[in-house]
Amino acid sequence: MTSAQRSHNGFYVLIVVLLLVGIALLVHRHWVFQVPLTPGDSHTLWSVEARIEFSANGDPVRVLMARPNTQKSYVLMNETGASPGYGLNFYDEGSHRHAEWTVRTAQGRQQLYYRAEFLHSPSQGAVTVPAPELKSVQWAEPAASAIADLLNRAQATSADNYSLTRELLKLFDSNAPLQHVQMLQLQFDQQFPTLLVDMLHKARIPASVVHALHLQDGRRRQALIPVLRVWQGDESRLFALPGTEFYALPGDLQMADMLLWEEQGTPVLEVVGGNASTIRFAMIRRQEGAYGSVAESLSNQYDFLNFSIHGLPLEEQAIFQTILLLPIGALIVCILRILVGIRTSGTFMPVLIALAFVQTSLVTGVIGFLLVVSMGLIIRGYLSRLNLLLVARITAVIISVIAIISVFSVLAYKVGLSEGLKITFFPMIILSWTIERMSILWEEEGGREVMIQGGGSLLTAILAYWAMSDPLIRHLTFNFIGVQFIVMALVLLLGSYTGYRLTELRRFRVFRS
């Protein structure tokens, strides 16, 4: 046996070992930790950001904000606050949770941020919230007798706290309201939710106005919506108030995409040392495969074999989710270059472009890529006439690419295409090098070669995108470290492939005779 053969045998042993280790890790994880091999039901994650704005006048500032908690259908995953220069503390006093920002002195417009992530999990049951103490409220005439009459009517047609509330709400929302209902609506107008609560308390029913968010993907600058919470014994139900967004929704309010920000009727925002305060909310929905259950079960188990990404904080997990996909993209490049023989400009540039596609969605990505590269080539054509040194020229191309991206973003936004903003996900330095290389290619080999290599790069990027955005592949790479060993083995095998490439079957077709 020659030394070459020996080293070759060692090579195959290495591949087999890698494959075995990969499969063993995969199987171990599947059996021992019961991580499913397919993504199965995907989970919805809501990321909600509160932005508090107020004007400070130079005095010490103290801001208190109610924080949402795990509730029916939503599990709080993590929460963070951001606020330059402020001290920030999270307080949990029983079921009352709030965040407190403090600063010795502040001047001018202030912005504070708070972000919470919720896992939508229909199996999550309601969390018991203690009922408030009953208040006794007195009204002046004629309101007092109007209220007494309405309560009597509702009382007569109801059986329990909930049905009484429903009847009462119906009275306020009928098409031809009673005369004293109109009178009350006029008199109380803004305090209408409070009036309802007070009326219920009068009828010895514990109730309060809580504040909820209507969860809608991609919404910005949303306000909290008051919702009526009524207790019966230990449990409670929610009722939409007439005239609010939820009231128009069909079906049961308990089923709506509603997140309670504050659950007991305490104030949502208190600002000491500032005025003109507002609180607005932005929210984004994300789909993640088998995320919550796996993450929860794995993050608590630490042993060597459970070398898991899930042990990291959520932010870092998101980064690793991308990093672990890179080998898949690189594998696609290997296959296309070694087995097919596609020519690309820059070996792994297509993988980075594909990563950008994952962020932007395919169509937006491809259009953005073509726009940026073609505009860049035009500008680069002019630069080549200026006789610049190479480094300066590439820097000029980088600046041009950034300018192109900025202009497109602004234009797209003005036209109303928020998709256009995603163009900023492109790796600009890489794009600049691509433009530079294609431009030189154009000068030296002509436009045909540019089309071949540019098309090859784009095709590779699209295929890599498909692989990297496939839910099954995402699930496997993220949850099974063994997949990396298998990819490694495949890449090593490809590296020793000495057969023909697909394109060579065409290149050497003259030998057919």
Binding site: S496, E504, L505, R506, V510
Partner: protein
């Protein structure tokens, strides 16, 4: 199926594919540390000079950006034309051949005209690494322009026909001559449209000619019959090519030569990653020939240059009594014993 060939047909014809070339030949026979001597044309030139192999005369090297403005005076002295090339260029990238000049206007081999300003920009780009592998900063070489051998000049439209010989472990295995055309801008690059003419290793006679991957019989620009082409001084061409292996230690080598009337074969450059188009030009696959060399024993590799060339000529001859495989192995065994 019309546009494709089956892989087993390729294997049967002994066509060398890109992957096998990279793994089995470049990867196996060309140690990485030897690459700089061939990738850098300046180093190649010094090496060749030490070994007494003629190369184009070096007129100047331009190493710094501030020299770019000063080399005009050197250019103006070159009444016979000159060649500008990057020391680390690959695949003929960045090579400019100037045949005539008047004041600040230069005539390229392809017939197009460039200004001094254009040349300065070109050199500046070269120094910045535009044409070099990996974009590393580079050096520009100013060389004399080789006078085209009169006989070969008839077959070229413009520019310099060059001879490419593939040398495996010191044995010339395949050769072609590349004839510049109008389409190739006077360059001897096949993918740019130069004509590739496969040559019989035994005699240096044309076997087959292709342009853009298609078989042709006449030169597309001047209508010369390509079948009549026979490279003069063929023995010394093969000998120089074979010696380049000893010079560099590279076991899979593309040797590019030109024929000069006085000096004979002149070494243009060496290539550690020679392309596969030579198979198309010859109409023959490289693989069977390479495998014959693969099978050689260590001892037979130590043959002197003349013997190696003679062996190649018997083994790889196109027409003559081409010996069948068994006979050949007897020959090899006899030599190695």
């Amino acid at each position: 199926m019309s546009g494709f060939i089956w892989p087993w047909q390729l294997a049967e014809k002994g066509i060398l594919g890109m992957n096998r070339r990279n793994v089995n030949y470049i990867g196996r026979y060309n140690p990485r540390h030897l690459f700089p001597t061939v990738d850098n044309k300046l180093k190649t030139k010094l090496l060749a000079q030490q070994a007494g192999i003629p190369t184009p005369e070096l007129l100047a090297t331009i190493c710094h950006q501030h020299d770019v403005m000063n080399f005009a005076s050197v250019l103006h002295q070159q009444s016979n034309g000159f060649v500008l090339k990057p020391a680390n260029g690959s695949a003929g990238k960045g090579i400019v051949v100037i045949t005539e000049q008047q004041d600040d206007v230069f005539l390229k081999a392809s017939g197009s005209v460039v200004t001094l300003h254009d040349l300065q920009r070109h050199v500046s780009n070269t120094l910045s690494g535009l044409h070099s592998l990996g974009g590393r900063p580079d050096v520009a070489l100013l060389e004399e322009r080789i006078a085209v051998n009169d006989y070969l000049a008839q077959f070229a439209h413009e520019g310099l026909p060059d001879i490419r010989v593939i040398v495996c472990r010191g044995f010339p295995v395949m050769a072609m001559v590349r004839l510049p055309t109008r389409a190739s801008d006077g360059k001897a690059n096949l993918h740019q449209g130069a004509v590739g003419v496969g040559l019989d290793i035994a005699t240096g006679i044309a076997l087959n000619a292709v342009q853009f991957g298609k078989e042709i019989t006449l030169h597309p620009d001047n209508g010369r019959c390509l079948a009549s082409l026979r490279i003069p001084q063929w023995q010394s061409v093969l000998a120089v090519a074979a010696r380049c292996h000893d010079l560099t230690g590279l076991g899979y080598l593309g040797v590019d030569l030109v024929l000069d009337d006085q000096k004979g074969p002149v070494l243009l450059e060496l290539n550690a990653r020679p392309g596969l188009a030579i198979q198309v030009a010859n109409g023959v696959g490289l693989l069977h020939r390479l495998q014959r060399v693969d099978a050689l024993s260590r001892h037979s590799l130590r043959m002197p240059v003349a013997e190696r060339v003679a062996c190649s000529q018997t083994w790889f001859a196109a027409y003559s009594s081409s010996p069948s495989k068994p006979e050949l192995s007897v020959l090899v065994d006899a030599k190695s014993a």
